[in-house]
């Protein structure tokens, strides 16, 4: 895997995470792994197939006979909608993955994500309660893991999916260490 910085969508000035050029000593934005793109695509396809099955069975029944009386106008729009949504998701997936990035500053952990609605979450290390590292079978097959930093607030959404396993371990150690240094009681 090459230099992660080339994965990044350049931060546009209107991004919540936009900033002047970073000075030395500050963290760099790191994108999540490019290998996460196929994982996400597979997920989208699986989800799309399920939704298609859930909405498309009347069409099959019409073709086979039992629903032959029903109008196409009632049957077709739903699977068509699912198809369109899935297609849009698939097309946007690479950009979404590239927009998802994180950064370790001396005092805070930052995560930004989102294309249409852009979000930035800033977590002071002292607020960290624990760090979660998950990897499902699909993620493992691609050598990836998902890391989440939990505070006492459920609104703190710092899920970073699709970092490499080594990076996840490094992050976990690093975050835990910094969190313990600065732990603030509730």
């Amino acid at each position: 895997m090459s230099d992660p910085s080339d994965l990044l969508t350049p931060l546009r000035p209107d991004d919540p995470a936009a900033r002047p050029d970073s000075s030395p000593g500050q963290g760099q934005w790191k994108g999540i792994s490019r290998r996460y793109i196929p994982v996400r695509l597979i997920n989208e396809v699986i989800g799309g197939v399920f939704m298609l099955a859930a909405t498309g069975w009347p069409v099959v029944l019409k073709l086979l006979g039992p629903f032959s009386g029903a109008s196409w106008w009632w049957l077709l729009p739903w699977p068509a909608l699912v198809l369109v949504i899935t297609l849009v998701n698939i097309i946007l997936t690479p950009r979404r993955v590239r927009a998802h990035c994180y950064r370790e500053d001396p005092d805070e952990f930052l995560v930004r994500k989102g294309l249409l609605v852009r979000r930035l979450v800033v977590v002071p290390y002292g607020r960290m309660q624990y760090v979660d590292v998950n990897s499902g079978p699909l993620l493992r097959a691609f050598g990836l893991a998902e890391i989440t930093l939990h505070t006492a607030s459920p609104q703190t959404d710092t899920k970073v999916p699709g970092v490499t396993a080594e990076e996840a371990n490094r992050l976990r150690e690093h975050l835990t260490e910094r969190g313990e240094d600065r732990l603030i009681e509730l």
Partner: protein, 596 residues
């Protein structure tokens, strides 16, 4: 109080005095440690009274029916078309009421045995560091909670246990939406004594064993229906100092001035009028009203439940709330555990100047107006401005709370920027929120962060700097177009979710940067000096030169962190954290039974 009950109480007390014979059930790895206790013997009755009423009712029903049937000669022969096994013939030959009656009796006995089983195998243990609850024999479950992680200790008394003189004790910890350990049920006095002991260990009152002195005995409290006042309970009430008591008139009036009550009234009037005009539709119409009336009535009843005879006390451990119409609850919010506050002022209360206060306390969880957890997030159901002041002074431990109260009132009633300490949204927000635009805004004092909003249902959230967990900034397409951003201030799980809506983006960036800076230094600022709120976050500099963001500073030192060993007296709950798993043994904790 029956003699039998008295002896059982004595037995329980003897049990509390020290390691009893049950000690053998304690696992060997637990070294120190008090004995295991059972709940009060009446608790199965208190828990299962509904089932018992149903069973007894059914039994009575069949018996009475059967007797009546016997007298009228209709003795309910079993249906001849069914072909029961021969063994059952004898039973089926009996009159129906005997058959069903005995079935019900057997059911009742089984239920009673089950309840006894549950009671027998439910034990709890309170040690110096933990409270443990062990249930079941076949499916054994043991829950334990570290006492220094307990965020609140509540006593709850539903109707039937209250009649029996019992109470349940709830241990709330952070990180769990639900109550982590519930002791259900204990003798009311025992529960209160236990709570006092434990709060002494948990709260700042227990630091160094300092009990903060017995306050002037305003024992004005709550005559408990549990009748037997013991030394422990009166001593406890001596330490309570009444801060607030909501007059009944205000409580009732406030309920009358709510949307649900007005809808209810309108419906009632409509029903009466319609029944005069169209007498024939009365029945279906009434049927149609039933769900609405039930829902609204339920809402009203719940609101009454939390505001009825509402009293707030100061105790050495923190704020204590007592309230309840049917189910009496006594809630203790330890000092320094209030994570965020929201003050609401509905349209109809504006003239009277009343507000409703919700609070985030770790462990309560839940959403506003949800289940019982939502109820418990109410800190003040109907407050005047003076009550708010008392609450801020006592609950947040702010010496000069008038400033904060003034600022909150400004947050509730103020609009726009003019001569206000609130920074409000820029004018271009009118394109997305024309009505509420002038209500959006935030203010910063040296200890608190305030966010206001709402036009008809006005609100103002207050969150201390040192309770802020993290900050989120989000911008949708419209916000990007208008150069705006929403900043959400993440508090712990709870009913209060402060958000500053639709700020100028540059302003938001500056705000986030400064807020992070403040978060670092907050524990030191927490010293007991509160200067008048200063608009330290003035309207941001012109968008041309962006203020330095947190990530552009040179690496900061952490004087705040290293000097944390000097917490002010009010901040004693911020004792240096026993990080991840170090067993912090709270000082001053005695065995529960060793009191009095």
């Amino acid at each position: 109080m029956s003699a039998q009950d008295r002896t059982s109480l004595d037995a329980e007390r003897a049990d509390l005095q020290g390691p009893g014979p049950e000690d053998r059930t304690a696992p060997p790895e637990v070294e120190d440690e008090g004995s295991w206790h059972r709940m009060h013997p009446l608790s199965p009755l208190a828990r299962g009274w509904i089932a018992m009423v149903v069973v007894i009712g059914a039994w009575m029903n069949t018996v009475v029916n059967g007797l009546v049937g016997d007298f009228t000669g209709d003795d309910g022969e079993p249906d001849p078309s069914s072909d029961p096994p021969a063994i059952l013939d004898f039973f089926l030959g009996l009159p129906e009421w005997v058959f069903y009656g005995s079935m019900a009796a057997i059911g009742a006995i089984i239920a009673a045995l089950g309840a006894l089983y549950v009671w027998w195998f439910t034990r709890y243990q309170v040690t110096e560091t933990h409270v443990r609850l062990r249930t079941g024999l076949v499916f054994r479950q043991e829950r334990q909670t570290r006492l220094d992680r307990v965020q609140a200790l509540d006593i709850h008394r539903p109707l039937v246990p209250r009649i029996l003189g019992l109470a349940e004790l709830r241990f709330e910890v952070a990180d769990a939406g639900e109550t982590s350990v519930t002791l259900r049920y204990l003798k009311h006095d025992h529960a209160r004594r236990l709570r006092k002991e434990l709060l002494g260990a948990i709260g700042p009152g227990g630091k160094g064993g300092a009990r903060a002195g017995a306050k002037g005995a305003v024992a004005s409290g709550t005559p408990s229906p549990g009748t037997d006042q013991e030394a422990g309970s009166t001593a406890e009430e001596n330490e309570e100092e009444l801060l607030l008591s909501l007059p009944l008139r205000r409580v009732v009036l406030a309920r009358l001035l709510t949307v649900s009550f007005i809808v209810l009234t309108v419906l009632a009037v409509a029903a009466v009028v319609l029944s005069f005009v169209f007498p024939e539709v009365i029945l279906p119409m009434l049927l149609g009203f039933i769900p609405t009336v039930l829902a609204l009535g339920g809402t009203l009843l719940k609101a009454l439940e939390i505001s009825w005879s509402f009293k707030m006390y100061r105790t050495p451990e923190g704020l204590r709330l007592r309230y309840g119409l049917i189910n009496k609850t006594s809630q203790t919010v330890p000092t320094g555990r209030i994570q965020a506050l929201a003050v609401y002022r509905p349209l109809l209360w504006r003239k009277a100047g009343w507000s409703l206060v919700h609070v985030n306390v770790a462990g309560y969880g839940g959403e506003a107006g949800g289940d019982s957890a939502g109820n418990r997030s109410v800190l003040l159901p109907v407050a005047t401005d003076g009550d708010l002041n008392v609450l801020f002074r006592e609950g947040l431990r702010i010496p000069h709370s008038d400033d904060l109260t003034g600022l909150v009132l400004e947050g509730l009633m103020g609009e726009g920027d003019d001569a206000s300490r609130f920074v409000s949204s820029p004018e271009r927000v009118k394109w997305v929120a024309p009505i509420v635009r002038r209500r959006y805004g935030y203010a910063v004092t040296d200890r608190m962060l305030l966010a206001r909003g709402g036009r008809a249902y006005r609100q103002c959230c207050v969150i201390p700097h040192n309770k802020l967990q993290s900050i989120g900034v989000s911008r949708g397409p419209v916000a990007r177009r208008l150069d705006l951003a929403d900043v959400s201030l993440h508090s712990i799980v709870g009913a209060v979710r402060p958000t500053i809506y639709r700020m100028d983006f540059a302003d938001a960036q500056a705000f986030v940067a400064r807020q992070l800076e403040r978060g670092r230094s907050a524990p030191v600022v927490e010293a007991l000096t509160e200067s008048p709120a200063s608009p330290s976050d003035g309207p941001a500099s012109p968008a041309g030169d962006l203020p330095a963001l947190p990530w552009d500073r040179p690496r900061a030192e952490h004087p705040a962190r290293t000097e944390q060993s000097l917490p002010g007296p009010a901040e004693a709950s911020h004792r240096p954290a026993p990080a991840y798993g170090a067993p912090g043994v709270p000082p001053g904790l005695r065995r529960p039974g060793a009191s009095s």
